[in-house]
Symmetry: C2
Subunit: 280 residues, 2 copies
């Protein structure tokens, strides 16, 4: 496995592979890898001749009062995880390699980015679209892998690829969970033991929604109300949002009729966690 | 020479070329081709194994009260010009192929798009960046050719390519002129015989600037003042702007010290023409 820090070196390696007719999978990450990332890397390694993992804490997708400075980083550990999961190349740029002085181009979209995390994190998806577009241009992958845990991000990237005619396949992969149901996330490391315990409330609320829908409930307000009660019963949990939107344009729905995304964001102290259930 | 109307067909043809190791040049146009476009196609054909010309009047780069509906179109004639200039493929999509329902992603930038045509045509460069990015993804060119007549557009596209890491070379080509100096433009066909005569005033004003700078004049206000007097001496000419900006970030300059763009936009009735001189 190789590591490259510049766009130029990364491209040179990937072009050599392409010349040999090899297919390339890309797993964009912000590092501090967990089993969720590892499952993406393994899947890419299984489906492509070569797998590139990008490790870059993207400043452009963090808001002013968010956790850019404290976001956990451990390149040595990440590197070992990439290698054992079957990656062939890590692209690990410094911020100035991705955003040189006088950088001012961006990609963004309306509609899909308005609700859910978009309304709570203004500018977040502009940062995501811009950096992911850059990574697509740098790695020229045949397939790119994203976790369903970040469902809105997955949806936004699929839309960007379709609208802007990127020539690649976006592969969404199932959320990987701890034994007690908490979705794996690099931000889980922020939690105190008490908060970690309380954080299972996201999954509990989503399980409730899943069961209610399976039992025939179609009224979004009723499902959301019950989910909110479950979350608010946990003293350490401060709900950011509990939403049910259609799984195409992410617009709020009153009745569940077509595939829908049930999405929650909950704060525990300064730590904000998200999770979701997709009803298809 | 082939013609394709869909993204899928265009890609299939270009991928076949790429498999054979052939290089690809792209000339994005809005059709109604003139000798300016023809010079771009000839240059691409000389520098690449295969040349793709896109012909698409891009609705997204027209403002509400602009000439989208009346913009001249003549595909048969365009097709003959492409063939004789050495094109191998015309990509000629319908608007719904480029902008299907629920299209809402865009690429845009700050700074470079604020002045000159950007301030007089809000949203114009968002439309340009978005469609050119799409064309780059569809044609995957090694080189893309743009005329220096649209100097701000050339500058914006170069910046987009650099910022977003598109893996291609942007080639700027000299403006092609009528015998009396008027820059070739599809919009020249809008002019009445009297307006056509009056339109030489753009080139006259730019020639004045060129001579003044060659003679040692470095004061932007003095040069602009004299240019405005030349334009306003022509009764049919209504100046939209006369600007001198640095040729890197297109910011207005007081003194000419480094490469600068002298740019003019003038209206003749409803027809708006642009031209420029680049001092390097």
């Amino acid at each position: 496995m190789k590591t490259a820090e510049t766009v130029k070196d990364t491209r040179a390696i990937i072009k050599e592979w392409k010349k040999q007719g090899l297919s390339v999978g890309l797993v964009p990450t912000m590092g501090f890898l967990h089993e969720g990332h590892e499952s993406l890397i393994r899947r890419s390694a299984a489906e492509n001749d070569r797998t590139v993992v990008s490790i870059f804490v993207n400043p452009m997708q963090f808001g002013k009062n968010e956790d850019l400075e404290t976001y956990p980083r451990d390149f040595e550990r990440d590197s070992r995880i990439c290698e054992r999961a079957g990656a062939d190349l890590i692209f690990h740029p410094q911020p100035e390699e991705m955003y040189p002085p006088d950088f001012f181009t961006y990609t963004d979209m309306d509609t899909l980015t308005e609700g859910l995390c978009g309304s709570h994190r203004p500018g977040h998806f502009r940062g995501v679209c811009t950096v992911v577009g850059k990574l697509f241009h740098i790695a020229a992958p045949d397939r790119a892998y994203f976790g369903q845990k970040d469902a809105q991000q997955l949806s936004v990237i699929r839309k960007m690829v379709r609208d802007l005619n990127f020539d690649l396949e976006v592969v969404g992969c199932p959320t990987v969970r701890e034994e007690d149901g908490l979705a794996k996330s690099s931000r889980n490391t922020y939690l105190s033991p008490e908060e970690r315990q309380a954080a299972t409330v996201l999954h509990k609320a989503l399980l409730h929604a899943e069961k209610a829908i399976a039992g025939g409930e179609r009224d979004a307000a009723a499902i959301r109300g019950e989910m909110l009660r479950i979350i608010e019963a946990e003293p350490l949990a401060v709900p950011d949002y509990v939403e049910i939107v259609d799984w195409e344009l992410l617009q709020p729905v009153r009745k569940l009729e077509k595939p829908a995304l049930v999405a929650v964001a909950v704060k525990f102290g300064k730590t904000r966690l998200i999770d979701n259930y997709i009803w298809e």
